[in-house]
């Protein structure tokens, strides 16, 4: 079997997890640093209702950009996110079969689960799990969430986050993401190199610091207003916007070490209140 190209690989994962009963979602419309921030994960994992979903999520991490010059660092890349709530007993076997579905022979390769405890300080979230290595290459992060928005979870979900570029580099035997075949005759670099260059310039040089700092405050205030109105979902979007403004300020080098902790604390506080509101108002058990 010849290696799948990038879009075939995604399609294969979509098929696999759809067959497993997941709701196939689409990327969220607001910048997020990871698929965990998507409300389809963060909010849906709160409360007692079961939930199974899978989706591609662009991961926007301004500080990781390298102007498209470094073959391993990008400010924009893709994750494939799977949420299984509650985590089924055979969740690992299901995950391993998804690797087979994209063409990895589990007996031929050295597939390992290596301790990796996850913590998302802005979301007040943590969990235990692993990074999954295939022949030493980290292709997935696997986490059993324990807490989100500072709330202990009644039902423990499993979060499976594939690093799509890394997985594709492994499958296609490529040394840089730029060389990945996205579709026949089109590489990942064709699609995204210029994007990396321009956005790195924006993130590191052009993003307006005073405007971002002001926006952070505005989003924070709006979030509180929306919470007061009992609108957990729109309020949550403001948490995401705060988080992204913070990330950009960070990339601009505009945040000192102490300010950093204070910004993170402010986002976490919002996330906690939104999580509580969501649990009270939305995530009720079916009658």
């Amino acid at each position: 079997m010849s290696a799948l190209n990038f879009q075939e690989m995604i399609a294969r994962l979509e098929d696999y997890w759809a067959d497993d009963g997941c709701v196939l979602m689409q990327p969220y419309h607001t910048e997020v640093g990871a698929g965990t921030f998507n409300p389809a994960t963060f909010l849906r994992c709160l409360g007692p209702e079961p939930w199974k979903a899978a989706y591609v999520e662009p991961s926007i991490r301004p500080t990781d950009g390298r102007y498209g010059e470094n073959p391993f660092r990008f400010q924009h890349y893709y994750q494939y996110q799977v949420i299984l709530k509650p985590a089924p007993e055979d969740v690992l076997d299901r995950y391993f079969r998804s690797l087979e579905a994209v063409g990895i022979d589990l007996e031929k390769h050295d597939v390992r689960l290596v301790e990796d405890d996850w913590e998302g300080p802005t979301l007040g979230a943590w969990g235990l799990g692993w990074e999954v290595w295939v022949d030493g290459m980290e292709v997935t992060q696997f986490t059993y969430f324990q807490q989100l928005g500072g709330l202990e979870l009644d039902i423990v979900p499993a979060e499976i986050t594939y690093g799509l570029e890394r997985l594709a580099m492994f499958l296609q035997d490529k040394r840089t993401a730029f060389d990945l075949e996205w579709a026949p005759g089109v590489t990942w670099g064709d699609v995204y190199r210029e994007n990396e260059r321009q956005w790195s310039t924006y993130n590191f040089e052009a993003a307006p610091v005073d405007v971002l700092a002001r926006r952070f405050g505005e989003h924070e205030a709006e979030c509180r207003d929306l919470i007061a109105l009992g609108l957990a979902l729109p309020a949550y979007d403001q948490v995401l916007k705060c988080s992204h403004a913070f990330n950009l300020l960070d990339a601009r080098g505009a945040i000192s070490v102490t300010e950093r902790a204070s910004y993170i604390g402010r986002v976490r506080k919002l996330a906690r209140v939104v999580a509580e509101l969501y649990v009270e108002s939305v995530a009720q058990p079916a009658a």
Binding site: L92, H109, L128, G136
Partner: protein, 643 residues
């Protein structure tokens, strides 16, 4: 009786959890079961008890005291289901021996207690109200010989099945407990951790020349169930990177073992060797490529350009930038007597904090700066001092090997301590986020073992002055840094703390000299000379130390008694000798000189009354005693030393 097997099947446990469980099973549960072996690996925790007793041990149930037999025996006996005649007496109490249950009855409860009783530093739940464990438990296997022991724990039913290697082994039956090891080995799992360690070491030795500076072998033993040692290569062009960068790229994340040249060894858990090697080579090359890319960018900037960026990097909020810190370090190394190399190293010491490579490899701070200084052609003394600035980095880690290195390392620690104390961030209890205890111990060792003269008090004052000039947000007087550092001497010297307290009050202030004085006091504490010096100090201090009305200066013409005149003249001889010996750090000599005051002081107390009516004579005698105390006091406050 047959052997007993309990296996707890888990999703992949971290190495640290394996070790925690191993210790608990071995130290707490095995003795209770009667001894045997513990087998621990990423997917299973097991105990195998070679021969289990047929019954639980008998149990003594204590009842009422014997003298209450009349009133209380019957009730107790009834409650225990025995007749009154069956009650026994032990240590004045009535009681009954309850025979232990048959082990087959006791085991289900006992095994469940083991599964539910293991504790981990970091643990999780995976089912509502379920077990708390390091990672989810997925099966339990319990056998007593050929019998399967039925019990439930953590919502799981124990059975007779285990699981071999995750991808090649599958489900297998343990027919009888004694078969456990062979059953697993046939299913591609080496259950015995020591055997895995042996296999890995043997594999590495067969390749030869392996190194493990970060000590990952201890972890790798618990990361694999079926160890296969393999060798990989990488492109030689990466050998142009600083070797420790290459080594760290191999060890810190990937847990590879560096070999000579462009080679590495690693331990796989399965797969086809050729495929697995190719994959791991690609991963390492990716990491090295990344490091190389970063290194080239830094190198193109050069260390001077990196140093210029320090003004925009905050050191600690309230204490300015790293450029401010570098400025302070340059002043402090001058104060410490450092020469040109130390000053240059202090100027460049923090430059690598602006380097991208340090963001990738934070453990290599200092080292990377030194490498960049070498690239820029700085003298080796400067580069070595940059490299050594963080040493010693543990209580017994190596000291800087060069003089400029010791000077810069001492300045670095003084500044960290002063800044934290000045900002009101003293370590409390177990909270020491800036590693200040380690810094203080490091300072002590640089003074004591490294022989560098460090006058903590005056350096802290100088540093505080610089902070104020730089308009740092000084909230507190950091003068107590000196106390904090001297307290650490106790552990460094292995001298009781009283001697250190005593020595601190003596005629030396420099850290190494105080340490030497404390050591000398401790070594001489039972000598006759010390005894005499102590007497001179103690008797004069006891009487005059608390009395009011001593004269401002001694007037020898007021001396009338012979013993008084003798003491004055002994003091005149001894005092300059003590002072000179202390100045030369000949503390044993100073004790010998002070000892000569012992007899005159004794005689003085025997023959002379101090608290006489005549105020002038009394004041003069008190002054004489204070002068004696202060002369001997160049050796420290001897009253601190327990006699």
């Amino acid at each position: 009786m047959p052997s007993l097997l309990l296996e707890i099947g888990c999703e992949e446990l971290p190495a640290s959890a394996c070790r925690e469980a191993e210790a608990q099973l071995r130290d707490r549960w095995l003795p209770e079961l009667g001894g045997g072996s513990v087998y621990v690996g990423p997917r299973r925790l097991a105990v195998l008890v070679a021969e289990i007793a047929e019954h639980e041990p008998d149990r003594w149930v204590q009842g009422p005291p014997e003298h209450l037999r009349e009133t209380a025996a019957r009730g107790f006996a009834r409650k225990q289901g025995v007749s009154e005649e069956e009650l026994e007496v032990r240590d004045g109490f009535l009681g009954v021996v309850v025979p232990g249950r048959r082990i087959t009855e006791a085991l289900p409860e006992q095994l469940a207690a083991i599964v539910e009783g293991l504790g981990f530093g970091k643990s999780m739940v995976w089912e509502p109200e379920g077990l708390r464990f390091s990672r989810p438990v997925r099966w339990l296997c319990a056998k007593l010989g050929k019998e399967t022991i039925e019990f439930e724990a953590g919502g799981l039913r124990a059975g007779h099945l285990t699981y071999g290697h995750r991808f090649t082994g599958g489900e297998v039956e343990v027919v009888k407990s004694d078969d456990y090891l062979e059953t697993l080995r046939a299913a591609g799992v080496e259950p015995e951790q020591d055997e895995r360690r042996r296999q890995i070491s043997e594999g590495l030795d067969a390749i030869g020349g392996w190194r493990d500076p970060a000590g990952v072998l201890d972890e790798v033993v618990y990361l694999v169930e079926s160890p296969i040692v393999l060798e990989g290569r990488f492109d030689e062009r990466f050998l142009s990177l600083p070797p420790r960068v290459v080594e760290t790229a191999m060890q810190s994340h990937q847990r590879y073992f560096p070999l000579d040249g462009a080679r590495f060894a690693f331990v796989a858990n399965g797969g086809e060797a050729k495929v697995v090697i190719a994959g791991n080579e690609r991963v390492l090359e990716g990491r090295l490529e990344d490091a190389h890319f970063t290194f080239e960018r830094d190198a193109a900037n050069g260390i001077e350009a990196l140093a210029e960026e320090l003004g925009s990097i905050t050191f600690v909020a309230g204490a300015g930038s790293l450029a401010d810190k570098a400025a302070r370090l340059q002043e402090l190394v001058a104060e410490l007597g450092g020469g040109e190399a130390s000053r240059e190293a202090a100027r460049l010491a923090k430059a690598d904090q602006a380097a991208e490579l340090v963001r990738e490899f934070p453990d290599l701070e200092g080292h990377i700066g030194a490498e960049y200084a070498r690239l820029a052609g700085f003298p080796e003394a400067v580069c070595a001092a940059i490299e050594e600035q963080y040493l010693p980095d543990s209580a017994d880690g190596p000291l800087p090997g060069t003089e400029p290195g010791r000077v810069v390392a001492a300045a670095e620690k003084i500044d960290n301590l002063t800044v934290s104390f000045a900002l009101g961030q003293r370590p409390t209890g177990s909270r020491d986020p800036h590693g200040l205890r380690r810094a203080a111990i490091g300072l002590c060792r640089i003074a004591v073992e490294g022989g560098l003269a460090i006058d903590v008090g005056s350096l802290v004052r100088r540093d505080l002055g610089l902070l104020v000039e730089q308009q740092a947000e000084v909230a507190d007087d950091p003068a107590d840094v000196a106390d904090f550092v001297f307290e650490r001497l106790e552990g460094v010297l292995a001298v009781p703390v009283e001697f250190i307290r005593a020595a601190r009050a003596g005629g030396v202030t420099e850290l190494g000299a105080v340490a030497e004085l404390a050591e000398t006091l401790a070594a001489e504490a039972s000598s006759e000379d010390f005894d005499r010096a102590y007497v001179a100090f103690d008797r004069s201090n006891r009487l005059a130390g608390k009395a009011d009305g001593a004269a401002g200066a001694l007037d020898p013409s007021l001396a009338t008694d012979e013993a008084e005149v003798a003491l004055i003249s002994a003091l005149g001889r001894a005092s300059p000798r003590i002072e000179a010996a202390v100045a030369e750090r000949d503390f044993a000599g100073a004790i010998a000189a002070a000892a000569e005051l012992g007899a005159p002081v004794d005689r003085f107390f025997d023959e002379v009354l101090v608290m006489v009516e005549d105020e002038r004579v009394r004041a003069n005698r008190l002054r004489l005693l204070l002068d004696v105390r202060d002369a001997v006091g160049a050796l420290g406050d001897l009253s601190q030393i327990p006699r």
